[in-house]
């Protein structure tokens, strides 16, 4: 099992940013998700976030909503999410779960943390869990030895940034812009400033997500952040492909472009 600490130490030694890819479990199918994530790792992703498909994804844009809807329609359940994590972790990538809070709350915090650790997962990203409500999850995660990643946003005050980074282990997720997930023509202008503000409160790696989808954007973000997070752009490649094989080829091509980007 590769930890986040190992990933960021290695990327730093290489003089580059880490590349983090997101994909929902169960998309395009239960088995297909493992194949796509493996292609992302082959192409150069250091970390994979496996999304836990949820019925009410209120911070996601149309691309991820579409993928998640397909995953739920496929009958993807938490057991499938854990099996996907297990499959992806075997590739050697550090594997996280990204999920809204309610599925964990309902499954049971300790149970989920334990099952995720057993599947080879190294942590979670929980976009709607704020520091005020995160106590039980931080405790359960610490007990299972997994990391807890939370988000800061351009609108975050210094006090909020401090509260969020104090809850984080592994890395801090900096949302590049005020909006939902989805590739955009340019990365938010606020991203660099947010990374700098975040660094003044923590020595943890700071990674940037939302709106990154090309090698050029990855290179730009890699200039100031420790990691570059890409989700919707990978999903778009799968959605737009006529068949599974060409989808995988397209994902590898994007992965390679992004991997070159994070190397400057």
């Amino acid at each position: 099992m590769t930890t986040l600490q190992t990933v960021f130490a290695k990327a730093k030694a290489d003089g580059r940013a880490a590349l983090i890819g997101y994909l929902p479990a169960g998309f395009p199918s239960k088995e297909g998700a493992i194949a796509v994530a493996t292609a992302m790792v082959d192409a150069g992703c250091d970390v994979i976030e496996i999304g836990l498909p949820y019925s009410d994804p209120l911070m996601d844009g149309p691309t991820i909503q579409d993928a998640v809807h397909r995953a739920l329609t496929n009958g993807t359940r938490i057991a499938d999410v854990l099996r996907t994590v297990e499959g992806v972790a075997k590739t050697g990538a550090a594997t996280l779960v990204m999920t809204y809070w309610n599925p964990i709350d309902r499954y049971g915090a300790e149970r989920f943390a334990g099952d995720l650790a057993n599947a080879g997962g190294v942590g979670t990203i929980t976009p709607d869990l704020t520091p005020e409500e995160a106590g039980p999850w931080r405790e359960a995660s610490a007990g299972a030895g997994i990391d807890t990643v939370f988000l800061v946003a351009p609108s975050s005050t210094e006090a909020r940034i401090k509260a969020v980074v104090d809850s984080c282990t592994g890395f801090v997720y900096a949302a590049s812009l005020m909006g939902v997930t989805g590739a955009r023509d340019s990365v938010g202008a606020a991203a660099q400033g947010l990374v700098e503000r975040t660094r003044s409160h923590t020595s943890l790696p700071v990674c940037v997500g939302l709106g990154v989808g090309t090698g050029r954007q990855a290179a730009e973000v890699a200039g100031y952040a420790d990691g570059v997070i890409v989700g919707s752009a990978f999903i778009r490649r799968v959605l737009d492909a006529p068949d599974e094989a060409s989808g995988l080829a397209s994902v590898r091509e994007l992965g390679a472009e992004l991997a070159a980007g994070v190397r400057g």
């Binding site: 009410d56 599925p103 976009p127 709607d128 939370f150 005050t157 949302a175 005020m178 939902v180």
Partner: protein
């Protein structure tokens, strides 16, 4: 705090002063319910709304302005109407209606909307967005936006747009943009998701004019405070009309704003039973219902910990009701708290029971109620038979039924 005589509201009425233990804590919690489960990007906006509201609710000038709009625009105070012919079916108990159906735009929603539209101005924002199910909150929001010169965008599930086409037309006529939401179940819950997505992207100039007492803190508190006027008036009016407080209050519960609006002023009156009626849809066994409090479990939906219709893995289960306004798989956290503390009791009313009460009130009293409110009426009929002929029951007639004529024509083959 000074009271201003001769008006609808006093500052103490609005702020909830004199009631103990009914306000959420600093994290927006009613017991274990409520709080904030939202993306970090929205926290500063919620903090801003909470801080401005704290100032506004203690600002006599703001309260006067709100009060002025309630009296001269919304048509408050609304009257009480005793309905003896309807009550014959309730074992002879006295039934008295609080007539929110007589407000401008035809439902209690106008109270909250006027308050929040004024708050939007105070926040220096020029645009409001809102979600709507039946369309009543959308119409009310579009109305207040027109009145106060605010840009207005309404998110409405595509399925709801179809079943409430008349309200879509009303909103458009009032100058609002109506965005049909085509993802998920295409109903209220998906409209709320979409409104949150808009808000996070446009928060600088936009206020999310939330329509019920659900959602992240401070919405449950703000919406309740602006809806409280219903119970504040009704309590005074009941004392004037009957010389005492009612034995029980009946209100419909979807998100729960009309129910909390009438319950809240009576929370300290231990002798007054509080009964909320949820949509039983086609019945519990059918699985097609919106029995969030009576059959749901505790979880997180739309930013708040509360009772939710969900499966064993926390996926939201789609709700059903003949009334779009009750067709919601969550409920306000304060109702969750009132349920768990035992102060209020919640029951289910099926589509068929609601439609029977709908038709009965029309035929016996000449009042066509909203189908939402008909759930409370059906509840009052049952309650009357239980409590006996000596009992007095106050029902929140939260809205009028004009918008429901399409449904009624189909249901009764008119």
């Amino acid at each position: 705090m000074t009271t201003h005589e001769g008006t609808v509201l006093t500052a103490a009425d609005l702020a909830g002063n004199g009631l103990h233990g009914n306000d959420p804590d600093i994290h927006g919690k009613f017991g274990v319910f409520g709080g904030r489960y939202v993306p970090e990007a929205l926290i500063p906006a919620l903090d801003e709304v909470a801080a401005e509201y704290d100032k506004a609710k203690n600002d006599v000038a703001f309260l006067r302005e709100f009060d002025h709009l309630l009296r001269t625009y919304a048509g408050r105070p609304t009257t009480l109407t005793e309905v003896p012919r309807f009550a014959e079916q309730a074992g002879g108990a006295r039934i008295i209606l609080k007539r929110e159906d007589l407000t401008h735009t035809g439902a209690h929603k106008i109270n909250n909307v006027l308050g929040q539209a004024l708050l939007t101005k105070r926040l220096g924002k020029t645009r409001v967005i809102a979600e709507t199910g039946a369309g009543q909150h959308g119409v009310a929001t579009a109305t207040a936006a027109a009145l106060l010169g605010l840009e207005c965008v309404i998110y409405m599930g595509a399925v709801d747009c179809e079943r409430q086409a008349l309200n879509v037309a009303r909103m458009k006529l009032l100058g609002a943009t109506v965005v049909p939401v085509t993802n998920g179940s295409q109903t209220l819950k998906d409209a709320i998701n979409e409104a949150f997505r808009d808000w996070v992207a446009n928060v600088d100039r936009t206020h999310y004019l939330f329509g019920t007492i659900a959602g992240p803190h401070p919405f449950p508190e703000i919406v309740r405070d602006f809806a409280r006027i219903i119970g504040v008036e009704a309590r005074r009016q009941m004392l004037e009309l009957t010389g005492r407080l009612p034995d029980a209050i009946a209100a419909a519960v979807g998100g729960g704003s009309n129910a909390i609006g009438i319950f809240h002023a009576f929370l300290g009156d231990e002798g007054v039973q509080l009964h909320g009626y949820e949509a039983g849809g086609r019945g519990l066994e059918s699985g097609e219902h919106a029995l969030t409090l009576t059959e749901g479990s505790v979880g997180v939906l739309h930013g708040s910990r509360t009772y939710v219709l969900q499966d064993e893995e926390g996926q939201t289960v789609e709700s059903h009701s003949i009334s779009a306004g009750l067709d919601y798989p969550g409920v306000g956290p304060e109702h969750a708290w009132l349920k768990d503390t035992g102060r209020a009791t919640y029951h289910g009313i099926t589509d068929a029971e609601a439609m029977e009460a709908f038709s009965l009130l029309a035929r016996t009293e000449g009042i066509i109620p909203a189908i939402e409110s008909s759930h409370a009426l059906a509840g009052a009929l049952k309650l009357g038979r239980e409590l006996g002929p000596e009992a007095t029951i106050l029902v929140n007639l939260s809205g009028r039924g004009d918008k429901d004529m399409g449904t009624a024509m189909k249901y009764f083959n008119l």
